[in-house]
Symmetry: C2
Subunit: 335 residues, 2 copies
């Protein structure tokens, strides 16, 4: 990499002249500016990012901590973050916490040494189960703002972007109730997560408002066992005529299992899930889904963080929570 020093030497001017010329300073003569810029272009000069970061005490880099990159929803949020960040001239450093509290802490510490200006993260499963928040608080006290999305720690004072999980599941369940379904089941492999619990609550609320509707709930511990668990569940509860799936795969698996057992979908069983568009293609009929607008969630999180980073004034504790509304997309697995 060419440095200012080298350009200065070759041009027989001082380093600061070169620097100013490249930054279009008023102080420098037109002719000099031209000469400097030409040489810089020739050598493909680019200011050293590290030196700039050191000088200006900010890195224009965002640390992103994702619990699971193989989760389609989380990956899509990352996509949204990356795009928004790039648009604003920020890079992202990605760490994967693997749903582990320890990795989450170490990732936070690893990047809190000047590598990044702030964090965007979704809380790991273990962290939620243990209800641990001190590492977040510590990071914020060090002066590094955090924006949490989807799975948030309520007790941490920071900006947040969440989904209307409760309402969305409530409305989806209502939808099945209105189809006159009498035995609506709830299937989830994310019972440990805050969002999983919210979704279950939405389901329960809708049932409680129905006419003598009883909850039937299947909680799957290991997603790999979903097909077997769901099959056994259907066999043990033969009158199920509706399914709300809280995670990204149980919905299509429920449809395929129902078909396999000889039910007609949606005539005999109606299904709504939280899958993405592409996964909803994995069953015939296509799964009716609750779309979370993951990219928007990511974009909003990035916007909030960048705004905070660039507003020196806004250091106040005026933290806000944005709720990104889901959409219920009815395909062919509902009436």
């Amino acid at each position: 990499m060419v440095t200012l020093k080298q350009l200065a030497k070759e041009l027989n001017v001082s380093i600061s002249t070169v620097s100013k010329a490249l930054n279009n300073s008023e102080e420098i003569g037109e002719e000099t500016i031209k000469r400097v810029k030409e040489l810089a272009a020739l050598y493909n000069y680019k200011p050293n990012k590290v030196a700039l970061s050191l000088k200006q005490n900010k890195t224009k880099t965002i640390g992103v901590i994702i619990p699971d990159i193989l989760n389609y929803f989380l990956a899509k949020v990352l996509f949204g973050i990356e795009r928004e960040a790039t648009e604003h001239g920020y890079n992202i450093m990605t760490c994967i916490s693997n749903e582990s509290l320890e990795k989450e802490i170490s990732s936070l510490q690893l990047l809190a040494n000047g590598s990044v200006d702030g964090f965007i993260l979704a809380v790991s499963k273990e962290t939620q189960v243990k209800n641990e928040i001190s590492h977040f608080v510590k990071t914020i006290n060090q002066g590094l703002p955090i924006v949490m999305f989807d799975r948030v720690a309520n007790d941490v004072m920071c900006d947040k972007v969440i989904v209307d999980d409760f309402d969305a599941t409530y409305r989806a369940t209502k939808n099945l109730v209105n189809e006159n379904r009498k035995n609506i089941a709830f299937i989830s492999n994310i019972d440990d997560l805050s969002v999983g619990k919210l979704r279950e609550k939405g389901y329960l609320k809708a049932l409680s408002e129905g006419n003598n509707l009883k909850p039937v709930v299947l909680k799957i511990n290991n997603p790999e066992d979903s097909p077997q668990n769901i099959k056994a569940f259907f066999q043990a509860n033969k009158t199920i005529d509706g399914v709300i799936s809280a995670d990204s795969s149980s919905g299509v698996i429920a449809i395929n299992t129902a078909l396999n057992l000889g039910y007609r979908v949606p005539e005999d069983i109606s299904v709504i899930g939280y899958s993405s568009k592409s996964v909803s293609n994995h069953s015939i009929p296509r799964l009716s889904t609750i779309r979370q607008h993951a990219k928007e969630i990511g974009a909003n999180a990035a916007q909030m963080l960048i705004k905070r980073l660039e507003n020196k004034a806004g250091e106040a504790d005026d933290f806000s929570t944005r709720i990104i509304k889901t959409s219920l997309i009815k395909s062919d697995s509902t009436l």
Copy 2:
């Protein structure tokens, strides 16, 4: 963040003493080392990463450019890269090229300003179609090594990690031939990619060795149309009794479509695809798959890059290509 300067001041010693003490220098007295370390621990001192990078002229950061983060295979490779990098004390900066040449170039340039020590990437679709490689060569000439994985540019001299696409598809097809299938189809929505072409070649080779077997190929341009396209394809080719799918979703969609049309799987139609374990759960019977060991691919790529970065000597052009062998996992969609 606490700095050496602040510690030095508080301890009434010089900055260099503090620095040496923290690095366990022989030069410093035991007593001093102890005092320094205690205060450092108290203030949770961490050396500023940016300053270190500037001083040592390396960032311990790897730039990763992924064409599509929503592709399960690519996301899994990223996972492998992240894990391996973290283990070796490296961070990763992730850019998503979105299959666009322009974004790929800008990502490369953006990070080639001292932000990263080297790159790991899979070539974007547009780049492969246009067969453009100058931006890679330029980056390498700037002194930033590149490791390519999966979709590689053959003409670029660099380390590579690839999958045995040709062989794997050849063997999978042979498998169906040995089941005595007479009309084996090939379905792909990745015809643009180098790996897509290799897979097709493997399929064609296996057929050519069979007894009067004729290729039947469906190329899908827009993955969103897969269900309709595959259905129409089956209806137009009623004697299909075997399917090789080159991408990550056509396999399960083919099974679901076949069932929907009244075929039995695997009795009437046998299917093998390139899906991941979780997607293979999206059909009953489960899809028999060719597993690519994405995490290993990522880990290998990271190892190769880090080795090159840390071997000052190995600047030679002794570039190597590692081939990660796939495994054929027979589930229930084959005999």
